[in-house]
């Protein structure tokens, strides 16, 4: 039994209650005895008999009292133990329920990941089938058809393009996976966004002679902290997309603007635009929404752009009115 005052008080109380209960039990027993002996009929009442007995048999009443106290103590102890057991059982049940709930959550998460992984595998398999068709088809033509050497060379170059496209898809996919899983850390170096843009614009110009790239860079654009190589990747992607998705002879406008704690980069094209429902979807892997006559895309450019910008603590989104071109806007905080 626990030796604390509250428990002791409770013990005394319950023992007293049991003593009184026993006392009345004794009365009942006497009454019953009187009845059995037919003495009630002769005018005997339990209290008078008991009063006599009480005086005469004080010792026996003391024994009753001790027994009652002992019984009280015993019952009290049993009660305490039972209560303790109940509390423990309840606590254990609560713990088990909590564990079960956590397990269920983990299971659900695993199932979700597993589903995502299968979806991903089937998407990748699906995407790979298109370049594989070129590789299988043209190689069989070279093998089975009567063709000239020049034709054979041409088809070999088609095969080569598709093989390179596959390689690019694999590498880009692996890159996106590394970025998403956090397995590579971004550098945190001072970056002058304006000069980064000027460099990227030069290299995109070299490959897109039919488009004009016009820069409008805010000289107040501050130096930010970030990963210069990854930011070059973002800008290259956005600028080549702008070029690839707008007609020859049009202009791609790139501008920067500085605000208190962020830098905004805008890449605007004069292409056919993006339908409103697709504006966010284009940042998901393998979403293609418009024809561009170009098959070199991996379907992963914008997902990578968004991932890199997010890792920089920034945001990227697209705005467009179909027919009036699109604007891609990147906001980067000053410090990573």
């Amino acid at each position: 039994m626990q030796r604390n005052p509250r428990s002791l008080r409770f013990y005394l109380l319950s023992a007293t209650v049991y003593a009184f209960l026993s006392f009345f039990a004794v009365q009942l027993v006497y009454d019953w005895e009187l009845d059995r002996a037919g003495l009630h009929a002769k005018g005997f009442q339990w209290d008078t008999v008991f009063a006599n007995t009480y005086q005469v048999h004080f010792v026996s009443f003391a024994v009753w009292l001790v027994i009652a106290l002992a019984a009280g103590a015993l019952v009290h102890r049993v009660q305490l133990t039972l209560a303790q057991t109940l509390v423990n059982t309840q606590r254990r049940a609560d713990e088990l329920a909590e564990i079960a709930e956590r397990e269920a959550q983990v299971n659900q998460e695993l199932q979700r990941l597993n589903q995502a992984k299968s979806d991903f595998v089937s998407i990748v398999a699906h995407e790979f089938r298109t370049p594989l068709t070129g590789i299988q088809g043209f190689s069989e033509i070279i093998r089975d058809y009567e063709i000239s050497l020049d034709e054979a060379r041409e088809y070999a170059s088609d095969i080569n393009n598709d093989a390179k496209r596959l390689t690019r898809m694999i590498n880009t996919q692996l890159d996106l996976d590394r970025l998403q899983s956090g397995r590579i850390e971004l550098a945190s170096e001072p970056v002058q966004i304006n000069s980064l843009i000027a460099g990227v614009a030069d290299s995109v110009r070299a490959q897109a002679k039919s488009h004009t790239i016009q820069l409008d860079l805010d000289p107040a654009t501050p130096v930010i902290r970030g990963d210069p190589d990854r930011l070059i990747q973002v800008l290259t992607n956005l600028l080549s997309n702008a070029v690839n998705y707008s007609p020859d002879g049009t202009t791609v406008f790139v501008s920067t603007a500085a605000a208190a704690d962020l830098v905004e980069i805008r890449v605007r094209d004069q292409g056919i635009g993006i339908p409103a429902p697709a504006l966010d979807r284009i940042f998901e892997p393998y979403t293609r929404i418009q024809p561009n006559g170009e098959t070199t895309g991996t379907g992963l450019g914008l997902p990578i752009v968004r991932q890199i910008v997010t890792l920089h603590g920034g945001q990227v989104w697209a705005e467009s009115r179909p027919g009036a071109g699109s604007v891609f806007r990147v906001r980067l905080p000053r410090s990573l």
């Binding site: 089938r129 068709t133 070129g134 299988q136 089975d144 088809y155 293609r288 929404i289 006559g293």
Partner: protein, 126 residues
């Protein structure tokens, strides 16, 4: 010799089909999306249609729906060229009323055999 329309947004596959069918002498016309494919089909009423599923503007299955709605075009056999080769995806194609499918990747022989099978069947007496 047959007139064939191919609706396919990937130029490499468009070229492959043209080159693969050159020795057969079939007349192959290529459209780069579903909408221009439908126009082409209306204009030349081909003997056979090959179509990709995932295409801009009008996807392959919507194109088939359009064709089935027009009495003059509904009977032209349609072969799906599809990278979605899982059973449920193919079943969906057949529910829309395509005649056959060719899973990507395919080779020139597969194309030729498919054409012979479908146009041969059509020519065969009932």
């Amino acid at each position: 010799l047959a007139t064939i329309v191919l609706c396919e947004d990937d130029p490499a596959i468009g070229k492959l089909v043209k080159v693969a069918l050159r020795p057969t002498g079939h007349d192959v016309h290529v459209a780069v999306d579903g909408a221009s494919g439908l126009e082409l089909i209306e204009a030349i009423k081909p003997d056979l249609i090959f179509t990709d599923v995932a295409m801009p503007k009008l996807d392959g299955l919507r194109l088939v729906d359009e064709l089935k709605r027009r009495p003059d075009l509904a009977k032209i056999p349609v072969v799906l060229l599809t990278a979605s080769v899982q059973r449920f995806q193919l079943e969906e194609g057949y529910r829309h009323g395509v005649t056959a499918h060719l899973g990507k990747p395919f080779g020139p022989q597969d194309l030729v055999r498919m054409i012979d099978r479908i146009l041969g069947n059509e020519a065969a007496p009932d």
